[in-house]
Symmetry: C2
Amino acid sequence: MRDKLLPDMATALREAGLADGMTISFHHHMRNGDHVLNAVLAEAAKQGVKNLTLLSSSIFPVHAPLIEHIKNGVVTELDTNYMSGPVAAAVSRGLLEKPVMFRSHGGRPRAIREGSRVIDIAFVAAPTVDPMGNISGSLGPAACGSLGYAVPDAECAKTVIAVTDNLIDTTLESVSIPHDRVTHVVKMDSIGDPKGIVSGSTSMTRDPVALAIARKAQAAIRASGLLKDGFNFQTGAGGASLATAQYLREDMIRMKLKGGFLLGGITKYLVDMLEEGLFDSIYDVQCFDLAAVESIRKNAAHHEISADTYASPRQKSCCVDFLDTVLLGASEIDVNFNVNVHTDSNGMIIGGSGGHNDAAAGAAMTIIVAPLIRARLPIVVDRCTTITTPGNTVDVLVTERGIAVNPARPDLADRFRDAKLDVYSIEELRAMALKIAGEPRKVEFTDRIVGTVEYRDGTIIDSLRAPA
Amino acid sequence: MRDKLLPDMATALREAGLADGMTISFHHHMRNGDHVLNAVLAEAAKQGVKNLTLLSSSIFPVHAPLIEHIKNGVVTELDTNYMSGPVAAAVSRGLLEKPVMFRSHGGRPRAIREGSRVIDIAFVAAPTVDPMGNISGSLGPAACGSLGYAVPDAECAKTVIAVTDNLIDTTLESVSIPHDRVTHVVKMDSIGDPKGIVSGSTSMTRDPVALAIARKAQAAIRASGLLKDGFNFQTGAGGASLATAQYLREDMIRMKLKGGFLLGGITKYLVDMLEEGLFDSIYDVQCFDLAAVESIRKNAAHHEISADTYASPRQKSCCVDFLDTVLLGASEIDVNFNVNVHTDSNGMIIGGSGGHNDAAAGAAMTIIVAPLIRARLPIVVDRCTTITTPGNTVDVLVTERGIAVNPARPDLADRFRDAKLDVYSIEELRAMALKIAGEPRKVEFTDRIVGTVEYRDGTIIDSLRAPA
């Protein structure tokens, strides 16, 4: 019997041989409730380690202490798919000497598997660990459901440390990551704050603009011809997206349709549709609320999948390839249908691709749902500040004022017009927005490159500069 | 939506680019009912392909057509963990120019993952396939349960072809190998004969020698101190092994014990113990009978595991590392406790390691159960004809006439003597056998090397010669 349990984080880092210049990895299922990344970096700093590369699938406001670790040279490189909060703001202003490498949720596992990112030590925030080192994401005080983003890290890292607050005596019945990927186990009082891990319950929006967008998105999906038996669907947790999902649900019940799978970050609304028999399966790389965590525990058709299976272009196929429709958001969309979800109207980092450009590339129809004007600024611009998702993978923009179809998809435009939807050219939507909101002040940028955007296949498609 | 389905095997081989000199892989869950390997080689021969390396986790009597393919130069190299039947006999007599590479069930995935065996095309005998290419081993006319040995092949091969006789319309609820490992899907009328895949039901032995061995093995396990809560156990499907498992079951019920996991090739007897609550889990790399196939479908605690998770020394841990006791067979065991399960008393190939040397290396106590004399020949010999499992990983020999303990384990010998078990030196057991059966005729060998035995870690530990 091998005993993998180490007494504390200090011992774990020493046993794993943490040293200057190493690459260490984290996953983001604990989201804004995560205690693990901060604990590891605090101990690394204490041990005087410098020059670490942090490969974290996302960075949240809770990770603000990272700013000090960057200032002190403990961390000198970031590689992530999404960042928000104080770290994102500080990086926007030039905190890091090297640009942040922004990947997508599918590009990250591609980079790890192909070896362009070699992980020395992967840290897995592990809600429950059994005596062999098997990990479950669905049980324990910090249960978060799927651990899909941690799978490639655990399979490829030289050393894997499972950090847990729930060691059990018996072998686990539901295993997210098997023991053969786990080198050491270490206990913390709490790996995550449940309130920050899951949103509790996502409530349906009452925002009339979001509901108007959702009605138009519903009509577009219906008109597309894609809504039929076997329909595979992904949506995010934004107001307009979830409202569209609810309207689709009504359509599917009325039309007596049975969909194939639901994909992406999973919420109660999607679980309800599975349990009502409207879809065969859920493929879950991340649970967004407690209903999803509960469902992954109890529903056999609610499958935990890895980031590879979800979205990696290096695999023989990935789930996004089979999507009929995906609903995605935008902070900007330009007249060439390029989409920005990296930066806001001030040029500050507010997110990143996550699965945005993966799902857009895979889906038969990619719909961007967004208000025509947000915070008094037009969503449609001449050229995106940052390109997250190339326009050739985006088919439709749905706003509360009308729909624009990518000229590369005349088939969709025809169907929409036949269904009497209010289709405009994207330039017309742009003009409409400008007429209402006026031309916004141009953001000025310095020459300082603070981020690099890697497309899912490894191509560098953009870079981010610090705003002036 | 990507359509992976190809019309027939001929098209599949062409699409996959099958060419001279390639390495193609197969797994053995269809065992002696397998139709896939023969079908692929027949088509390859028809297409005029030569010089293939066959990486098949096992080769059975049903694969006799392979002999012709070797004679015709279609296949020129074999890499396997086990072979029996006509191919084994022909190889023993020098059919192949190159020696067969014999690996273990843990050494094979190690070789694949480390890249010392690069697979061009992996063929997965797939009992059920859904529209995305997800594979289930547990459903369909050729259901075989676990597909554990196919997992490393499917993950590492350049091209993966799922061969199925059961395509379904809806997404699979239970997935053995996810679609992201599958390049093409091709249909055959039947991928396997259920009668050859599973034994139907394994019936308990009434052989008095086997039962006597089992009673002594039971006593040894009880005396070892290992039989307590959390006991992790592996046994094969041989008569003495299964009888020992039944006796242990009675001990566990009487002692009110709850074991940890059951491991290895799974039979009804192990399933019964899971369902009776005597063990927490089954880790299943291969189902041996229909009860096991049924159980893996319905019991959440009956886990399908990969060959890596089962036994690969390249992983951070593998299941065999956590075994308290394993029961294994032998065709010979020598006075240094080396064990042979490759060749028979005529020097002919009759098997191979399978998981033998993996489980022996991992278990806290490795027990060889064997009759002292088999077919009038002593089991204990001065030197094994072939070394499958090194003596330093073998702790105990249990025969119907007495028990021998490896001198490296005085702790066990003491415990056995304290429990009044009839412990002898292995030399004493050897003398006892010789006295009854006499010194057997020595097998003569030619200089022709027909096989190489690789230990699980990659070390070459023996070679096999053709008998004279």
